[in-house]
Amino acid sequence: MTVLESRPTKLVDHFALGLNAPICLTWELTYACNLACVHCLSSSGRRDPRELSTAECKVVIDELQRMQVFYVNIGGGEPTVRHDFWELLDYAVEHHVGVKFSTNGVKLDAAAARRLAATDYVDVQISVDGASADVNDAVRGTGSFRTAVAAMENLAAAGFRGFKISVVVTRENAGQLDAFKALADRYDAQLRLTRLRPSGRGADVWADLHPTDEQQRALYQWLVAHGDNVLTGDSFFHLSGLGDPLPGLNLCGAGRVVCLIDPIGDVYACPFAIHDQFLAGNLREPGGFQRVWQDSALFASLRKPDGGGACSSCSMFDACRGGCMAAKFFTGLPLDGPDPECVQGHGAAALAAAGGAVIPKPSGDHSHKGPVRGQPVLVPLSVRRPDRACDESPLAGLPA
């Protein structure tokens, strides 16, 4: 990202007050997914019967073109499992809406890779959460690493340069950063690291999987060393208090420069905040997406200058701006307080103090209800001992 002229703070001030249209927008096309990743931020799995139809999606694309939203990040669920995925991709490109889509690679065969390599307007992001099958498959499911690597092979063979390999940094993979970079280099791809949020099913595993303080410091140093060569989606601005700011805006863009359109047309302030409290409206209502973006009361309140609350007296406030709204919300912390992973330790203290606070649950849960092939099991199954050593009846212990 290039910023011309040297007045970055002013630009950030403009961003904080909101723009005429989002700079980038995440659009989750479906909640359906072939995987059942333990940390899925949208609790995806099953298709929602209210999902936007092909025709409705095209109306959204028309509107994005009118608003000059130059590109969208398409995700899900697994967007490529929609039967009309390629049709919508072509439609977006024809209407000057660039697309970067995230996929686990399940549909990215050689033919699809060749098709993608033929256009500049589409970028692809393959998700892996480990640089080796064992680390990856423990959170994404058995065989998912092999699928992702096969997709990378197909893209590279088709001549698609510079596709993205997207990694959520966890306690399990934080030691593999160099290996991830090597993986990206092998395919002439670009590495993208993002933050684990306690959103969706991520709330269930966040306490066990979020990086330790030591890992955060190492991650920060690693990111500084790699600069613009590694993308972060501005994920790690909460680490800026560790030294110089990382490349990027270092600003929470929720409702100001980014937002989320979910598969049923609900518009949320950001992809990590699927909860009624951050729901701005639905684009099926009159006025469509533009009206939600420009007129919603929620977005208006997010665009008001805020004082920084409990963080405003911290010397690091200008660096981290209090951190990530969603990370606070889904760990039960107040929005005007510190980020749960505050590098000053204020978040850990706040979490300890909040102790028994009720943690908000995501509004929707589209997780698979039955078993999924290869599904990851992070927590060992609890084995309950029979009530008595001699109890062999399968009904023992159940209410009569």
């Binding site: 002229e5 630009l11 403009h14 000059q68 590109y71 000057h96 660039g98 500049d120 340069r161």
Partner: protein
Amino acid sequence: MRRLLSQGPGPAFDPQAPYRLHPQAELRDEEFGALAYHFGTRRLSFLKAPALVDVVRALGDAESVEAAVRRCAVPEAQRPAILRALAGLAGTDMIQRRVSEESLP
């Protein structure tokens, strides 16, 4: 085809030559100036001064970059900054030098 991404830097920026917004690039007006997006390189830039936006829009019809700057009545004091910004935009292919047959207004 995905060529632009791997291309090296183009020829040096020449304010006396004719330029234009790259055909694959678009501007979106914002209060601070404009967002520029290049669909080929998928690169986003922020044009942080309304005067710069005016000049970029005027490039395609002007016989040179300097002529566009004059036409937009950019105050003398701002011109060096505007030219530096334009050089930056040329360096990322957001604006490009017009070849002769395209140069006539």
